[in-house]
Symmetry: C2
Subunit: 399 residues, 2 copies
């Protein structure tokens, strides 16, 4: 028999699978164009042409043994150097290539970081609402995830609760910015206050507490917002990144870890990340993708595409009487469930062929997440369905 824990994991996963199958059944019944699937965070904007050109050029010009071969577990030197220079240019940082470890996406990066820093029983704080996969990533390495409550008005972290949850077992804080599922970006002020608390607690307990920043949505910000680059605010920081969203290439599994050069024990941490990359079975980030990145790091996805969706959806649903958190980044809209039972609301929405994900998945019951990385037409076509849903809950009628 498979492991007891995995049996439990399969049962927990089956809800997502069930929704996927339900969506397919719905599409077969009423036509795919009449199903409004907002459940998946799958990039929708075209892959930049520069990236595909870089792949073909690499295959046509590089030695195939070098191109598809092993390299240092941390990646090709030229890729690491290119990433460091790109960050330095954009954020005024001072990374060298050796501070960058190429990884199998951000999910791989987070597992490599946790493998490197966690002893059994170490606590990792996660700021609710948060991406549910963090639970598994921490558990994989025998850590204990501890939730920090949000300020429900702003979905910035509740700093009093943040401070209260730190103790002698706290080894790390995982921070997603911009945030999946709320679309909020943590402001510079929030980051500075969190960094100050962490500095104080490091002194109090005489040990490092690491900040692990998960930033796959870094470039997806709107209205001139910026995502603060965390190594500038706190030395003991690992920045994890994926090109999944910025280049629309989630299937390729390519990302990196940037280690703050001022981190206490930086070289030991870098050594650990390389070993962890190998030990966990990643070995290295896919080689051709590393080579292609060198020539297409400057490529950008079409943020305006998502912004157009964001505006239409936020304005329309707010207008219908839904209570929405205005997204500043990522491609998610977080909406208060008009039903006290969010799961029932998700079920009710299905009557109108709208597929949503309940906030419980993100440790924030009473809300739903709408992923607007869909075509603009899907949003337009969904609005009458949302109107009916609002009517069923008698929203907007008091206005």
């Amino acid at each position: 028999m498979i492991s007891k824990q995995m049996k439990q994991n399969i049962e927990n996963s089956s809800a997502i699978r069930a929704m996927f199958l339900e969506g397919k059944a719905m599409a077969a019944e009423v036509g795919a164009e009449n199903v409004y699937d907002f459940s998946l965070g799958n990039p929708m904007t075209p892959v930049p042409e520069a990236y595909n050109k870089a792949i073909i050029e690499a295959v046509q010009t590089e030695s195939s043994l070098e191109l598809h071969g092993y390299m240092d577990n941390a990646g090709y030197p030229e890729t690491r150097q290119a990433v460091a220079e790109d960050l330095n240019q954009r954020f005024g940082t001072a990374f060298e290539g050796r501070h960058i470890v190429m990884t199998v996406g951000a999910a791989g990066a987070l597992n490599v970081v946790f493998k490197t820093i966690l002893d059994p029983g170490d606590e990792v704080l996660a700021l609710a609402p948060y991406f549910g996969e963090y639970r598994g990533y921490v558990a994989n390495h025998q850590g204990v995830l501890v939730e920090v409550a949000p300020d429900m008005a702003t979905f910035q972290p509740d700093l009093a609760d943040f401070r209260a949850k730190i103790n002698e077992k706290t080894k790390a804080v995982i921070l997603n910015n911009p945030v999946n599922p709320t679309g909020v970006t943590y402001s510079e002020g929030t980051i500075q206050k969190m960094a100050a608390v962490l500095e104080e607690k490091q002194k109090e307990y005489g040990k490092e507490i690491y900040l692990v920043s998960d930033e796959p949505y870094r470039e997806l910000v709107y209205d001139g917002n910026e995502t603060p680059f965390l190594t500038k605010y706190y030395d003991n920081t690992f920045v994890t990144y994926s090109f999944s969203k910025s280049l629309s290439i989630p299937g390729e599994r390519i990302g990196y870890i940037a280690v703050c050069p001022q981190m206490e024990g930086c070289d030991l941490a870098l050594g650990g990340l390389s070993v962890a990359n190998r030990m966990l079975g990643f070995v290295n980030a896919p080689s051709l993708m590393q080579k292609a990145l060198v020539k297409s790091l400057g490529a950008k996805t079409d943020v305006a595409y998502y912004d157009r969706n964001r505006k239409l959806l936020y304005d329309s649903l707010s207008g219908l009487g839904f209570t929405c958190t205005k997204p500043q980044g990522a491609f998610y809209l977080f909406v208060k469930s008009p039903d006290p039972d969010e799961k029932r609301f998700v079920e009710t929405a299905k009557k109108y062929h709208i597929l949503l994900v309940g906030g419980t998945t993100f440790s924030c019951p009473g809300y739903v997440r709408i992923a607007y990385c869909v075509s603009h037409e899907v949003i337009e076509r969904s609005l009458p369905a949302f109107r009916k849903l609002a009517q069923e809950y008698q929203l907007g009628e008091q206005a």
Copy 2:
């Protein structure tokens, strides 16, 4: 500070790193052409042209969002189907696409399997000598690796010891065929006997004991040898595979798990593998590589290239008086250390600019591994150095 276990892991890894640096320093001093580096198992034969063509064709013809996008965690249906059909055609098996889970190489595959089946404290048998990375793969998932001694005359497993090491905690047996580091292939007879023991022990303990077959060298066999396909001999088998060696693409991290359709609880195991792929942060095997494989599964590397190296090295070293295990597969030659202290022998070989890996790494002290995945000229040039090394140990003089 990073985790205690990782500090230990870094110290253990530093020997390999030290040898790498030593080799570089040696090359700077005496010239790269005078250093005979047999330490790395890095494929050397050209990448088949069909594979690079398939990559370019995929980039030029497929929708880029599909090509680089998310798919089911187990892989694209057409890739899984193509792998199943290829196996069925070659080995007379009856896999369907759903029995195949695409992975980030064989290292990823093994971690996914262990995550799926191991509860803390479960024991995994490994047949010494074995690839040292297995220790980490088992420890990652809180398993306990238990070594089975070899028959030192043949390097087939000692079946009495195999039987004796199985107890109520045994959850799996990991088996590498052909074997790194000995180059031996486990014969059909060995496999049948092991399967019979496992069947008996499953009945005795009333539980499944899984066979986990690690087969990256499956196609690298010589003299008409064949690698028995294990699902034909034992139902509770996971076959893990990597295209690293057969297509010379170790950097791309692409492989798969084939689950025996007759496995007890096959569907539950398949569900677990998908969840584990996601949870561990692999998410899925790199997407473009999956697409390219569909059109290049039939491509083969040039086994004759390695065979020529094998013959020259085996014949020459045997002629010099070294005691060598004749390799039947993979690209390794396992040689008895003429020095009772194998580590001193490795150091002595360095005087002649020969880089070897000591058998202790593979839990087999008193031997060294020579990786002959180097150019034929390197072997030719190394022979005078091996002659001096043999002379230093007064080998062949009694002949």
